[in-house]
Amino acid sequence: MLKTAILAALCVFICFGGNWLWGQTMIERPLVVGLVTGLVFGDVREGVMMGAALGAVDIGGALSAEPVTATVLATTFSIILNVNTKAALALAVPIGVFAAFISMFLKNIVMNVFAPLVDKVAATNNQKGLVRLHFGMWFLNYFLFSLVTFFSVLAGAKPVQQLVNEIPKNLMAGLSATGGLLPAVGFAILMRMLWSKQLSPYYFLGFILAAYMKLPSVAVAAVGIIIVVIQWMRDKQLMALENNQKELAAGEVKNHIDNQNNESEQEEEDFFS
């Protein structure tokens, strides 16, 4: 069983890791995963059909299971244990649900430990370090993730399910909640860079438009652009006034007076119509 477990984990690593390493080319969709697993275990037809079955269920992301793990496990069980499609799915999908949680947990929480390193390579302009970090994180994440499949095959489906059921519900809920709250830190960092007392109202405006008026982000952006354009024209008008004033104050009145008058008249034409 060890060889089977390693091969299955490899399939997950290739399809899932490969998809995100290289352009999200969709080699993580059940259709493709089924094909790959079929090739590895020597039954392409079975693999492709299992992929089609899971793919039809998952269209539009309807499945709450992580589809790569689910497909690999279902295909493996079906080819190796020789059970039929239905039974293989019934064994694989619950583990896929657990895998979805693990994936979220790895990406959002475990990988947080590398966040300081990102700042460090940037602060030291350590470009080689950046490359190593980037791909190192990739490897670690998907390697760890493949272990779910590895142990599932090794231990057999049933015991794994039991184990999963024993994790306290409260703990799981808390871990899930971290994923919802952690982006706050990222946004706070962005705010540090953009915030100014003058502009802070716009942060809350964006919040209200999304939270209360239920506008999707394209519409918030459109409203934002409208505001920004109107603001811009007003600012330009005021800048012109200020500059005129400075010139007046500087006593350059005599020379520029005619030009200025014409100019500001023109501007007025622009702004008030």
Binding site: L21, G23, Q24, T25, M26, I27, L31, V32, L35, V48, M49, G51, G55, A56, I59, G61, N108, I109, M111, N112, F114, A115, P116, D119, A122, A123, L130, H134, F135, M137, W138, M172, A173, L175, A177, T178, G179, G180, L181, L182, P183, V185, F187, I189, L190, M191, R192, M193, L194, Y202, Y203, G206, A210, A211, S217, V220, A221, V223, V228, Q231
Partner: protein, 275 residues
């Protein structure tokens, strides 16, 4: 394409390099607070190295700018990469350029571009490709997965390629215009305004919290706390946590402590049964 023609050979080399690197943009994920920042940094390196050739300080600053949260549908994200490249170019040439606008613009583009990108690529294109692929595959044909990959990837990769150039070219013209009309200050104000609005809207939609706490009533239906929280202020907890983090950051608290704090908070809330 007009957009790819007017680019100098050197810029072209750089943009191609960005294009290729962009494939790996989502390879790593540095947690929920930075998301795909390292991938973005890796992709934009060619521009940084080119425009700050003998200027390690400039390189460092540019890299540090890009360490913030990044996440855009990757097939359209190259537009932002091209744009950032053109802004770094300007920044390297002109000491007056306000480098903050780079982050502001990038931030304000994330929400809308992902909204559009996800709809087109994950919504429409992938579904069409899968529909065709599954039909064939369910009869056991290997053509199913293959056609699926081809139908999905050809338009995706073309989009990725051209948007790299379009972002660069448009950005270049636009920024040049701003300079000539002396409106850089206004550009920065506009970009920051838009950026803050988008972060505000992302706070509302992407920072999530839902209490499952319910007070049981003897002989009545339970009272759900979340209902009252929403009545107080929609998204109260996400907003409070985000502003709290911001406040801590502005008090120079180390970001790692903040991260830990949020983690601990969430787990404790879970353990005591609030979420």
């Amino acid at each position: 394409m007009k957009f790819t023609k007017n680019v100098s050979p050197d810029d072209r080399k750089m943009l191609n390099s960005i294009f290729w690197r962009s494939f790996t943009v989502f390879a790593s994920r540095a947690g929920a607070t930075k998301a795909h920042a390292p991938g973005f940094m890796y992709s934009i390196l060619p521009a940084i190295d080119r425009y700050y050739k003998n200027d390690p300080k400039g390189q460092t600053e540019a890299l540090e700018r890009e360490t913030t949260w990044y996440n855009i549908t990757q097939n359209v994200g190259t537009f932002v990469m091209g744009l950032v490249a053109s802004m770094e170019k300007k920044n390297s040439q002109d000491p007056d350029f306000d480098a903050n606008s780079i982050v502001a613009l990038k931030t304000s583009l994330m929400g809308p571009l992902s909204g559009i990108g996800d709809s087109i690529f994950w919504g429409v294109l992938r579904v069409i490709a899968a529909g065709i692929g599954i039909s064939l595959a369910s009869q056991g044909s290997v053509l199913g997965p293959i056609l699926f990959l081809v139908i999905y990837n050809v338009p995706s990769i073309l989009t990725r390629y051209y948007l790299t150039y379009i972002g660069f070219t448009l950005g270049d013209t636009f920024i040049e215009d701003m300079y000539e009309s002396g409106s850089m200050k206004l550009l920065n104000k506009a970009a920051s305004t838009l950026g803050l609005m988008m972060i505000g809207s992302m706070t509302a939609t992407m920072v999530t919290f839902k209490s499952t706490l319910a007070i049981p009533i003897a002989g009545g239906k339970p009272i759900e706390i979340q209902t009252y929280l929403d009545q107080l202020w929609q998204g109260l907890v996400p907003l409070a946590v985000t502003l709290g983090c911001y406040w801590l950051l502005s008090k120079k608290v180390n970001v790692n402590w903040i991260l830990l704090g949020v983690l601990a908070l969430a787990i404790v809330l879970g353990l005591v049964g609030i979420v």
